[in-house]
Amino acid sequence: MPVMNIIQAVNDALRLQMRAEPKTVVLGEDVGKFGGVFRATSGLHEEFGAERVIDTPLAEAGIIGTAIGMALYGLRPVPEIQFGDFIFPAFDQIVNELAKFRYRSGGQYPCPVVIRTPVGGGIRGGHYHSQSPEALFIHTPGLKVVAPSNPYDAKGLLLACLRQNDPVLFMEPKRIYRASKNDVPEGEYTLEIGKLNVTRPGTQVTLIAWSGMVSIAEEAAQKAEQAGISVEVLDLRSLMPFDIDGLLTSVKKTGRAVIVQEAPRTCGFASELIASIQERAMEHLEAPIMRVCGFDTPFPYTLEHEYMPNADRVLGAIRQTLEW
């Protein structure tokens, strides 16, 4: 089984899907000959041609707006937004249009568009190349939000997204695009959207993370283990819908939970997870659910490592919940 990084896994999924489904097209800025600024669409232009791997004019609202029209007509467009931070010119097209087409047309117009975009900090990119905007989109009825943390998941989840009929925001963790490597099966496989993955079993504390924060959570869990604390790590994989049953199974077992979220704290997705868990598992909880988040500031440049959650902060929260 080949070892791949996330970029290679995404590229492999796109290639397999474009071979299997001629209606699949890729569009975005620099996705053609150049293969994307992160190289995720590398080689697709050569194999599938300029009509299916489209270098668009430089306008995100146009990329998503035209992708919507393509999907309504019958194509399966996979637009790339070069950085998650650049998605906001297309916000109306995503929130009011893409996400609502099926509903507002009484089910007449499904709109299967899978938007790929790299998210997260830690790359010395500053405010405009580092944000984690998932909460805005999870809060958008009609849209699915999927956030893989590693190559195996990225390929299986992307193929799953490309084979269902709802619009998806597929967020890729750019900090570990190349650093994260694991065995990725050749050929096609899919992972179920809406199911979390227990990446590390444990008994005392449930540690919940997604996207680029899963590796931080695992690092913290290792440190905790060295300190004699057994931590169960959950990789959410899918944020909308999220796997409430998987969360409750773990939290009911451990009685304690810590959530790691790179995005700003207030009204982040962690807030919803805390509410959803405590509503259903109050009698099992031994301590308040803690969260380790980014701060409610714009994403800083020089001080980005002060801003971002790290394993020590997570370990601190694990201790806090155990000592509560």
């Binding site: 004019p57 609202a61 707006g65 029209g69 509903y103 089910g107 007449q108």
Partner: protein, 370 residues
């Protein structure tokens, strides 16, 4: 005030009285098509009048009339059935022309159980996938890049379908207009842009939307032709639209058509134009009424008589009365339908919320029913 006659770049076939202008080329439109257009245009006029009266009586929440602009709707007439239409919210004629019925229209306005969009949207937000007419959106201009996407899709899928998109002159100020036009130009997309320049975006006159002399001139910057046409002249409308559709289908790319017309009444039932414009302005335009001009032309061509129009009026008034009566008997969509079509399959959180609401509905006292 725009002096229509003084503009030599304006494509016209008929004068204000419906006579063919000297030297004008009359498009090849069959008697049958003209009769059908007149019939459909009359339906728009009648429907608008009836629905606005219902709104004023408090029986209908909201409505938008198209009076004075109806001819521009028939830019769709030269399209084929397989072509796609992205309407704005004031093209009733396009819907009826395609086969959207009086019943569909009225059931949508009332959001009842027979509403094609299941009571999900406020009045005038129609959708009909069986007619390739795309769901109407309130934020203006969003449909423009979408139409370009459909046009592009047709091209790469090897079909010769054309996409036509409608918007008002105010929408030309949006980013989406620029984005859509630019993508269409670059992609040479088989798309026809119909800008209904009716002079007013709610209370804001066209002079405050652009410093350009015409809206059609904007096409130059996108590498496509821009044509100005008298939007109250049905023959000129059909001619210009037909040419643009043919160009698109032949692979020669998109066209921007500025249909010069006028919003004779308010933007919507919530509007009051007396606050912001001279009441004499609409009077001038009433003389250029598209339905009158078409009627006069058809009379000259021997295609119109009073009895025929009386029959049309009676036919549609009766159809509307029947549809309203039927609508009165129709229930609202079932409560659980609120949760359907958000996604293809209902995820757990929506199932949970639906069950909670259904439980509430079951335990609600009969007296508290709305």
């Amino acid at each position: 005030m725009v002096a229509v006659q003084a503009q030599d770049d304006l494509r016209r076939v008929l004068d204000d009285e419906g006579r063919v202008l000297p030297g004008a080329r009359v498009p090849d439109v069959s008697d049958e098509t003209l009769r059908k257009i007149f019939d459909t245009m009359s339906l728009v006029r009648i429907m608008d009048d009836r629905m606005m009266r219902l709104q004023r009586q408090g029986r209908l929440g909201f409505y938008m009339k198209a009076i004075g602009e109806e001819a521009s709707h028939f830019a769709v007439a030269p399209l084929r059935d397989g072509d796609w239409i992205y309407p704005s919210y004031r093209e009733q004629g396009a819907w009826f022309w395609r086969g959207y019925t009086v019943k569909h229209f009225i059931n949508q306005l009332f959001g009842n159980v027979e509403d094609p969009v299941k009571g999900r949207q406020m009045p005038v937000h129609h959708s009909a996938n069986w007619l390739n007419m795309v769901s109407i959106s309130s934020p203006v201009g969003t449909q423009i890049p979408q139409a370009v996407g459909s046009a592009y899709a047709a091209k790469v899928m090897g079909k010769d379908d054309v996409a036509m998109v409608f918007f008002g002159e105010g929408t030309s100020s949006t980013g989406e207009f620029h984005v859509g036009m630019n993508f269409a130009g670059v992609w040479k997309a088989p798309c026809v842009f119909i800008c209904r320049n009716n002079g007013w975006a709610i209370s804001v006159p066209r002079e405050k939307q652009t410093a350009a002399k015409t809206f059609a001139s904007k096409a130059v910057g996108y590498g496509m032709p821009g044509i100005r046409v008298d939007g109250n002249d049905i023959l000129a409308m059909l001619q210009v639209s037909g040419e643009a559709i043919d160009r698109a289908r032949a692979g020669d790319g998109p066209t921007l058509i500025e249909a010069l017309t006028y919003r004779v009444q308010g933007h919507s039932s919530s509007d009051d134009p007396s606050v912001y414009r001279d009441p004499k302005e609409p009077e001038l335009w009433e003389k250029r009424d598209p339905l009158n001009r078409m009627r006069n032309y058809m009379r000259h061509r021997g295609l119109w008589d009073e009895a025929w129009e009386r029959d049309i009026t009676e036919k549609y008034n009766q159809e509307i009365t029947d549809a309203l009566a039927a609508s009165d008997r129709l229930a609202a969509p079932a409560i659980e339908t609120m949760f359907e079509d958000v996604y293809e399959d209902m995820p757990w959180h929506l199932r949970e919320q639906k069950e909670w609401l259904m439980q509430q509905a079951r335990t609600r006292s009969p007296h508290s029913h709305g």
